[in-house]
Symmetry: C3
Subunit: 162 residues, 3 copies
């Protein structure tokens, strides 16, 4: 097991969740898709097995800390999907973009702080390769009343762009 | 006419709308743009000619079924734009990403089910090439009070990546 | 100084803001990132130095004209980041996508008109190269109560795709 995959397991352990089971999605689409050397990962909500473990509006029903935890679970799901597609997180060469949607109360303006939950995980597991651009916004609702949804674009080395 | 273009016409007929006229947009931008072998399609709302045919908040003024129909119209507009740029939908090789924004009431959490309206159309018309990643979120408002807005990234074969 | 960089300075002057200082961001991520010949720019809010200069909901606390100004500042920040990375805006070859998030009141439906503020700047500074696809949506909140957030994908010439 490589350093990155070990770091992934350590973050999962610290979170108190396992990402070994099926990464369930809720509709007629695919969880991730490779196009050339780019991987697109579908929007992830903080679902563990069948349960969405963080629901409701940040700033009202959900604290900043709980919302950050939701963001961590979302990004761990995205990484778990990439790990399964690639065999190991070692194949990743960059994470050009994440978008973080935070279900927010009317006056909750800490979407960036919520998204830092995910960003910190990327740096912790991938180091410099985890450098990413980010957009975080406050939305009105999310599927299954999730507090956070996160999607990702990641890249792997290719023969054309090694 | 190819199988995909025939399937497009059949879906249009079933929806009861024609996509033969101008695909109007509402601002100073372009409806789609090719960069290398990637096509970016601007956010589409369910507009037929000059009229946005599904407006208002899903879960309040708009039923799930009507919102799904809005998503279908959005994705048909995106495909119509690609068809015109390429001559035929046969040139498409992948649809790596769609993002589906659903104007939602405070407690409407079926954004995924709404987005399935669009996803099903992609599979029906493009078959395996219609496989896509997806992000669906619940927003507070959309241009012209549209119920759904959808954007897309699609790819075509290129000399470098045939 | 090239024509594009001169046009950038002229737009900045007309806006009444300088983009010479640090382009501050609010979290653990990078403001822009190059992957191959594609640049991803993180979500930009209308911040000048330490101050977010346009805050609140469009249609309620913020007029259409002020929201358009916010969109202009966002896109100028994005261009300033690219200018610094590339030495000059002359290196840009395309702007395939911008996404414009507008903090909106319940019945504000002019997100497209707000986004035109940014789109017009792209055409003014980059000419034909400023042609772009666009998605504009109305969100419930944004980081630091910003009225607008905007992200961008831009491209430069590469050896493989000159």
């Amino acid at each position: 097991m490589t350093m990155r995959d070990q770091a992934f397991d350590q973050v999962a352990k610290n979170l108190g969740y396992s990402f070994d089971g099926e990464i369930k999605i809720g509709g007629n689409y695919v969880p991730c898709l490779r196009e050339g050397n780019t991987f697109y990962v579908s929007g992830q909500i903080p679902r563990i097995g069948n349960e969405v473990v963080v629901t409701g509006k940040a700033g009202l029903e959900v604290s900043l800390q709980e919302a950050q935890k939701a963001a961590q679970i979302c990004v761990m799901r995205a990484l778990a999907l990439l790990q399964r597609s690639l065999g190991s997180l070692d194949a990743l060469t960059a994470v050009p973009r994440i978008t973080v949607y935070v279900q927010s109360s009317a006056d909750f303006t800490q979407q960036s702080e919520v998204a830092d939950g995910a960003s910190n995980v990327l740096f912790e597991i991938l180091g410099e390769v985890g450098r990413h651009t980010r957009t975080s916004v406050g939305v009105y609702q999310l599927p299954k009343n999730a507090t956070v949804e996160l999607d990702m674009i990641a890249t792997v080395a290719s023969p054309l762009n090694p």
